[in-house]
Amino acid sequence: MTTYLIRNAQILGGAPQDLHLVDGAIAAIGTALDATADIEIDATGLIVLPGLVDLHTHLREPGREDAETVLTGTRAAAKGGFTAVHAMANTFPVADTAGVVEQVWRLGQESGYCDVQPVGAVTVGLEGKKLAELGAMHESAAGVRVFSDDGKCVDDAVMMRRALEYVKAFDGVVAQHAQEPRLTEGAQMNEGQVSGELGLGGWPAVAEEAIIARDVLLAAHVGSRLHICHVSTAGSVEIVRWAKAKGWDVTAEVTPHHLLLTDELVRSYDPVYKVNPPLRTAEDVQALRKALADGTIDAVATDHAPHPAEDKDCEWAVAAMGMVGLETALSVVQQTMVDTGLLNWEGVADRMSHRPARIGRLAGQGRPVSVGEPANLVLFDPAYRGAVNPDSFATRSRNTPYKGLDLPGRVHATFLRGTATVLAGELVEQGGLA
């Protein structure tokens, strides 16, 4: 196995040190290490973070390989500094059986770019009618612990209660896509000043907050672990803050785009800004940043949602919802959280690696950067400035809202258990199915 000696890297933004990677682990850390390696990297000015962990990724395989495959999605993940992603269940067929989650898990193993942890559907076909075989998915090779009907809300209160209770048997967690369906019929964007002017159907904040309020109470009642996907409103933050203050086992994630973009962008009617939950107001953005900074929101999760060009190259009403995000996540977090002074690099490591790994119960991911730990690492250049160029993306899709935008920072290298998946900003071909 190739050994690496990384010179003068700033671990979590600290003083420059050397790291020696041998046999998939961090063999030594120190200044002016007396060691040799197959490849030596001058990491002057680069930050070392633990490999990023995404709780919320749409890899689209099986079923929508025109938008993304496990291979292309994990290549994008590696380029974004991720060493593990949770693959959402809304594929075709839906990942609601042991067979489908094992298929996705195996494709991840074969890709070699990034660990793929499949998420299982809560209900059969995401239809909210009947619990999927949660235990079977857990016992499969995929070892599923996170369950979500993401894309759809488990809106039936009894179904949600049962799911929360049932997964306790194997330390599972239900990740809720909080969207009251009746309040969001025909919803096209955040309901507010802009939707009123544009004549687009409104997606009110209360439709998210009402479900979160109900679910934290349900989780408390049955003593279960609850995770809230893509929190997008200031009101949701308040409810999560209240639930945590009560000592309930509730965690939450926020997407990079909800930390940066607002519904004012919808005035262009450009569907690249169409996403679910929708872009909210500047006040919501500020509340989300603050909540991520103080830990009320535990994690940044990309909700990477690739779509083929034709699903965005159309009128707003018929466009698909979602944005790609794996390859821009860390840059957006630098811009919104680090460069604003809200979070230091230690905090970034916590919100993008340690905590998401803990929520997903991923062994070997989200570990400290210290000797003896698995070498899941990112080298990140925070001084880089450049316009986002979708043509350089590894994802199969191009639906990014950041095209042409100057974002700070760039992933220089990513290591998955000591194997470089990215070096000098370029993917390192892993053989596999590539």
């Binding site: 507010g192 009123g196 004549g199 009617y269």
Partner: protein, 325 residues
């Protein structure tokens, strides 16, 4: 003025007055035996209608023909659009056929804006109504009608005139375009509707809001009634049609509470017995039929100004009819 007419908000006061004044001059034509001008001879105008519309489409078609344009009607029904063709491919097709202007009616808010911003089409895009967003030529014909009754004369605006718009504001593209244009022209707009049929954030719009029609009537110079679509009935916006009519409809006694000079308007189609009684609809104060006639003049003016080679802001008004002759 811009190359397109997508939103009434795109029109400056000068733009709007130029359209109204040009329309006034073009309206003289309708009294002549030969109603045609050669202005748009050899220019191709496509009426691209994704939504059924008899009156708007006919109005545009008459306007285009009076300006001698080559008119192509492209309706979604029975065309490749109904077989799943995208807006983009439809637009590319029209572009390849050499459309100089596309008049578009679409059920999706923002579809004309998409066409105008894309590089799919190079011609002018004229919004003939998009979803629940805007219908700028309707607002222009409404302003034209109001000016004739309330402040006639070229160059005049609607300063200080009080316009009350009643009905389903939430879903109304007419209300949205009108609030932009009428405000630009100096009028004071009041929306009257049950709270369920007003958009969130309305308090920040440049207009007054009232839930009580009776109290607003004596302070109204133009009363515009909007249709309430029957499908709203099943969505709990209001309890029954009868209750809606009692609270928000206009009948003879309510009309009599308006100042004597006030007019009653309706963009059509009217639902007689719902928002307006036959007595009001057929009264001489009701301008519904006049609005239709004015619609042709206003749309001629818009086409003329967008396509006649003149831009609205830098063309002296006297030019308009000179070059049209």
């Amino acid at each position: 003025m811009k190359r397109h007419l997508v939103s009434a908000a795109d029109l400056t006061r000068d733009d709007a007055l130029l359209v109204l004044d040009t329309a006034e001059e073009l309206a003289q034509l309708s009294g002549r035996a030969v109603k045609k001008l050669p202005t748009l001879r050899g220019r191709t105008v496509v009426n691209l209608f994704f939504e059924d519309s008899t009156r708007t489409k006919t109005s545009f078609e008459v306007a285009e023909k009076r300006l001698s344009a080559d008119v192509i009607n492209f309706s979604a029904k029975g065309s490749s659009v109904s077989k799943g063709e995208s807006l983009k491919d439809t637009a590319l097709t029209l572009q390849a056929m050499g459309a100089d202007a596309v008049v578009v009616r679409h059920h999706a808010s923002g579809a004309p804006a998409r066409l105008a911003q894309s590089d799919w089409l190079h011609g002018s895009v004229i919004n003939a109504g998009d979803g629940t967003h805007e219908h700028p030529t309707q607002a222009l014909l409404d302003a034209f009608t109001m000016r004739r009754h309330l402040n006639p004369g070229a160059g005049n605006d609607l300063a200080g005139r009080r316009v009350t718009i009643v009905g389903d504001i939430l879903h109304s593209r007419v209300a949205r375009s009108n609030v932009h244009l009428l405000t630009t022209l100096g009028a004071q707009v009041t929306f009257v509707a049950p709270p369920t049929l007003l958009p969130i954030g309305i308090e920040n719009w440049p207009c007054e809001v009232s839930y009580d029609l009776e109290s607003v009537l004596p302070k109204t110079d133009a009363l515009m009634m909007l249709r309430v679509q029957r499908e709203r009935m099943n969505a709990a916006f209001f309890p029954t049609e009868r209750e809606y009519t009692r609270r928000y409809g206009v009948d003879g006694p309510r009309m009599s509470r308006l100042p004597e000079h006030a007019i009653v308007m309706h963009p059509g189609p009217m639902v007689r017995g719902m928002e307006i009684t036959a007595e009001v609809a057929d009264s001489p104060r009701c301008t519904v039929v006049e609005q239709v006639a004015n619609g042709v003049s206003v749309r001629m003016a818009v086409l003329y100004l967008l396509l006649g080679g003149a831009t609205l802001t830098d063309t002296p008004r006297t030019d308009s009819v000179e070059s049209a002759k």
